[in-house]
Amino acid sequence: MKTLVYLAIGILFGITMFKSEAASWFRIYEMFQFQAFHMYGIIGSALILGVLMTYVIKRFKVKSFYKNPIHFEAKDKSFYRYIIGGILFGLGWALAGACPGPMYTLVGSGYVSMIIVVLAAMAGTFVYGLIKDKLPH
């Protein structure tokens, strides 16, 4: 049952990524050129609703569908890992035109080349795992 719920949420996510065109390389390029509001509207409206939702859940101690308390984990305090990791991610995001969610989506949409991008992203994750103790965090 829970598996079907996750699958349904994933399908909704994939459809949203494709139909919103957030999975389009062209939209990412356009965003970084500041030539359209589209991507900023998507991220901005998701964020405003997300902030409100998170606040309401915390403020009123909303329970999950399974009656569990909802706890939001704080991110570790640090600077270097976020700025350096973030910049490397941004370079890749603009070049490949896809972040992880859209990558999976586009494989389903029939873009065989995206499989190479996903494998390369796994390779990047693997190399991070190999050298992480040598990196500033």
């Binding site: 699958l7 919103s20 062209f26 970084f32 030539q35 991507m39 976020y82 700025i83 070049l95």
Partner: protein, 185 residues
Amino acid sequence: MEYILQPWPWCVSGPMIALIMFLLIMVDRRFGMSSNLRTMCSIAGAGKKADFFNFDWKSQRWNLIVVLGAVIGGFIASNFLTPNDAVLISESTISDLNSLGFKSAGQAYLPTELFSISALSNIKSLAILIIGGFLVGFGARYAGGCTSGHAISGLSNLQLPSLIAVVGFFIGGLVMIHFLFPLIF
């Protein structure tokens, strides 16, 4: 149905993403896509080479199901919900991309110059896919999250680390498009 078949405007797409985050929170999970790359490395046996991949990946199985759903969603959306998949980017973007050599701008969902099957035999476009993917995977794990984990989930919870990461995403993206693209293309 007519509306679903059109490209979704931002004022529908953004709230849909918020809804997806809400649903995951309400089933005791969190919205984050890049951690699946680590899980897939673990399944592929990366734990033998680096301790980072020795974790209970079965606890992340739910997120792989979400990924499977995203793949199916991508299939459904492109095959049944999108009669015309040309992305109507702005005129100035089209002319910029045309001058960089992207003739497919405004006529396709992804640039055929990079993502068509025939482009795979071109060393340069293959290298672009591999380097781009590698940086996304490396950077996301280094930063501890990607667009979903930091820009949506983390910022929604007003996390300063996520703001630093998102500033990094934009510095990287702007440097790539404004300074490196003219050198690459």
